[in-house]
Each structure stands twice: as structure tokens, then as C-alpha cells.
Symmetry: C2
Subunit: 274 residues, 2 copies
């Protein structure tokens, strides 16, 4: 990792400046941008396609914490790491570098296509002229919801809904409406960003919505740091699950009306006659 | 692959007989069962964790078509392949072999935790006594919905619902209700098993339900054989998408009210102010 992590917009812009597109040399050497899912973080969960994209890139861009997980793949490439909440700066830098001719990998934990960086990178790339827009390839990774389900057993064997409880980018009434609809439809429900230090009431509201439609005994699985060091699992029920340790590193999976727990595993039957 | 594919229940039972648990030798050498997601099928999408589980197994069990994809990993191990629709036989054989002391890998395409073999294997394992039940470990894979989303661009950047339109194991009225709820909640909607040769009307009904809540111009992406040889992509809209080639190898992803298409990519904005 050469000029490694930066922390603010100024430093990033400085790094990017040398790759700036000059009007006289307009996109002559257009690069390519890979948005790469590294999965939960262990090399055991990293696909060869993702690994190769990182190894073939000239520049690797990502949230500092995730770049640390793949230090040995980055080697002595250029790397731009930014802090949390700096997604726009980070993805803009990546798009600019690729428009300037570089092969760039933006790394994202889990699957970049599920609440990840794929959308932001594409949205920013679309702001460029057709002639300057780098090719963008999204490489799927093992998602947080998939890794968590595997740890719990088989909760996602039937139709499911995935909802983020973070209301930073989504109005709360819409999230509440989605929880209501998913509850009525008897979907298994996976909650991303279920609770943070500052945001503690939302999960209680969702619990109350669910209790209108499902028994208090409905199984709820909670996985913290799925498929990572320090992984923790708890199986609770709709009545009590919010008393468990739940934070931004946790995934909460609420069973449907058929889900049961046996021998510590959470199972939603697919419907086979056995 | 030693005694390779069998096609019926009789042959499987014959293969399993030699591993039968005799009451006098009750589970002395309990085995382990891995339910392994191989992803779309290419080695590029196979995680090292999944690969190792297959290589370390003594017996590999799976749908014949998927076993063919991993022939070189199976080598000269025992392998039991069965035809489509024989999931119960296949998983029962795997559970019996593991209960008899073998290390067994059940391979499943995509993610075995999403409409895959994880549930069936666990359900069958739970029928055994605690003392005989093999340990079951589920290994997540790149899911069909994740692989398809990556090909299309970034359609799953916001809350989404996953629904299978197959009514073999689920009563149709429940599927219809779920489509209605997901439509009302403005979820992005991914449809597994969208249409088969015999089952052609269901997707038309879902289209009509969606048209009650979303404009006819809502983007719809279709990916056939995502991340496999012969991959095909089409981007259409809610009005016209059922005119496209759609079959059991296809994934259909219907956008929410914010989803748009630009330069051939399907993007659901996450909500950043750009």
C-alpha cells in the first residue's frame, strides 16, 4: 500500500488531482472500474473473481477498515482509504481515477450490490459524458444476509424481505410502511443496520408492527460479525429479541409463520412433505 | 468421480445401504455434513471455503448437472448425483451417510441458504436422535439474485423482496398476496422461478398486480444464466417485460418507484444527495 489512508476530502482531492482529466487530453485512455464485493472479510469467503479484480487494479479504493482486511492483496499499489460516512468522496475519487485512465477497484464488504457501493459508483459515473465514462463492472460477494443465514441454519428457505432500519438516507415512514407490508405478507424479514448507539427506538417500533401479525414466539436470529473474528449468534423470539446485543455489525432475521428452532438451528421449511 | 450418477430412489438406497447405521454400532463415528453453495457455477465465483469443503469431503452429493460443473474437485471421491425433483432422496442419502460417519458435501448452486438445500438437509437431520445427528454446516455461495443484480448494474441498493413464483411447494394465493404486499411497500422485487414451460400465467398475474401500484415505465431487468456460459441480459419495463425470453434459468428484477435505467445499467438510488 503506497500513499495509504487519507481521512478527509482535502487529502483525497490532492491525491486525485494528478489524475485529473485535462480538456486537451479528453479521455484518450479511459480506464475501468471494478466494484468488488469482498464478502464478510476473510479470504475464505473471497471469490477468485473478486481477488483477481483487486490484484489487477492499479488503484484500490475503500473504507479504511476494509482495506486493512486485504492489505496483502493491495501490496504496493496505490490505495485510497477514507473514513466511514465518506462514501461519496471515495466513490467520486474512484470514478475520476478511472475516467483518467486507471484500472480501479472499489472494495465493499459483503455484496456491493446490496446496500453497497455499486449504486453510488454507477450514479457518479453516469454524470460523465458517454465518451468519458469508464466501464463499470460489479463483482458480487458473499452478502451479510447470506453469511448470517448460513450461521443460523436455514431461515431464508422461503420468500423474504430485506429492510435497512437506517433512516439517514430513507424517510422513516417509508421504512415503517415496508415493515408493515412485509409483516402482512408473512415474509421472512432480514434487517440491515438494526440498531446503533444513537438509533435505538426504530427496532422497537418494528417489533411492535410484527407482533400485530405474528405470534410472540416467532423465532428471531441475531448474528453479529457473521463469518468474521468475534462472530456471535443468538436465537430469541419476537417478544424478547430486542433485549439481545444488537448493533450496526448485527443482522437480525425474523422468521415467518412456519419458521421453527430445533437443536439451536433456525429453519424455515420450504414446504416439502417429509 | 467413482460410482457416479444414479437416477432413481432404488439406486440411491442401494448405494446408501453399505453405510447404514446398525443398532449395535450406534453413531460411534458421527460424520459431518457441509451444505455448500457453489455460486453460479464457474470456479471464478467459488469461495475457498466452499472449495475446501468439497475437497475435504469423502462423498459429494448433488443434482447431476451441478456435479458436472465441479468434476475436477470431486476427483475420485464417491459421488451421488440425482435428477431434478429428487431433492428429498438426495438430501436423505447425504444425511444417512453423514450419520454413518462420513464427511459429506451436498452441493447446491447459488446460495444453499436461499431456496436451496440447507433447509431440507437440516429438516431431515432433525429427524434423527440428538446422539446420531451429524453436525451440519452451511457454506454460503454467490446467490443467483446477487449475481443477476451485479450484471444489471445496481438494482438492489434499497429494500427488496425476494419471491419465488413456483407454486409446487407454496399455495398460489400466498404468492399472490406477497406480490401485492411487496408492490404496495415499494420494494424492489426479485422473482426466482419466474416462468416455466408449463407455468406461464403466474408472471402475468404478478405484472398486473405491480401495474396497480407502479408506472408502466418501471424498469425491469431480466438475466438468464447469470455469471454462466450463455448469459443473456435484457432491460425492459413493467408494461412489456413478459414478452422477453424468461424461463427457469432467469431472474427477473422489478425496480421500485425510484429505479432508473441509464447507459444500459439499472440503478436504484440509495438516496445520497449528489
Amino acid at each position: 500500500m503506497r500513499s495509504s489512508s487519507t481521512t478527509g476530502r482535502e487529502e483525497l482531492q490532492a491525491s486525485v488531482a494528478e489524475n485529473e482529466i485535462s480538456p486537451s487530453n479528453h479521455c484518450h485512455s479511459r480506464g475501468k472500474l471494478f466494484v468488488v464485493g469482498i464478502g464478510p472479510g476473510s479470504f475464505d469467503d473471497l471469490t477468485p473473481r473478486a481477488k483477481n479484480a483487486i490484484m489487477n487494479a492499479q488503484v484500490v479504493v475503500g473504507y479504511k477498515t476494509y482495506l486493512k482486511l486485504i492489505t496483502e492483496l493491495i501490496g504496493d499499489k496505490e490505495a485510497f482509504g477514507t473514513g466511514m460516512m465518506q462514501e461519496v468522496d471515495r466513490c467520486q475519487a474512484a470514478v475520476d481515477l478511472a475516467a483518467g485512465g486507471k484500472m480501479v477497484a472499489v472494495v465493499s464488504s459483503g455484496d456491493p450490490g446490496i446496500y453497497g457501493m455499486a449504486g453510488l459508483v454507477l450514479e457518479l459515473a453516469m454524470k460523465l459524458d458517454d465518451s468519458c465514462r469508464p466501464e463499470v463492472e460489479v463483482i458480487a460477494g458473499i452478502s451479510a444476509v447470506g453469511a448470517s443465514a448460513a450461521v443460523l441454519g436455514a431461515p431464508l428457505m422461503h420468500d423474504f424481505a430485506v429492510i435497512s432500519l437506517s433512516d439517514l438516507l430513507t424517510p422513516w415512514p417509508l421504512i415503517e410502511k415496508r415493515a408493515e407490508m412485509a409483516a402482512q405478507g408473512d415474509f421472512v424479514i432480514a434487517l440491515y443496520n438494526p440498531r446503533s448507539t444513537k438509533r435505538v427506538q426504530q427496532i422497537e417500533i418494528v417489533r411492535e408492527i410484527l407482533l400485530k401479525y405474528r405470534p410472540a414466539s416467532t423465532p428471531v436470529g441475531i448474528v453479529r460479525q457473521a463469518s468474521r473474528n468475534g462472530q456471535k449468534t443468538a436465537i430469541s423470539d419476537l417478544e424478547h429479541f430486542t433485549q439481545q446485543e444488537i448493533d450496526m455489525f448485527s443482522m437480525v432475521i425474523i422468521g415467518n409463520s412456519q419458521t421453527y428452532v430445533e437443536a439451536g438451528r433456525m429453519i424455515t421449511p420450504r414446504g416439502y412433505k417429509l
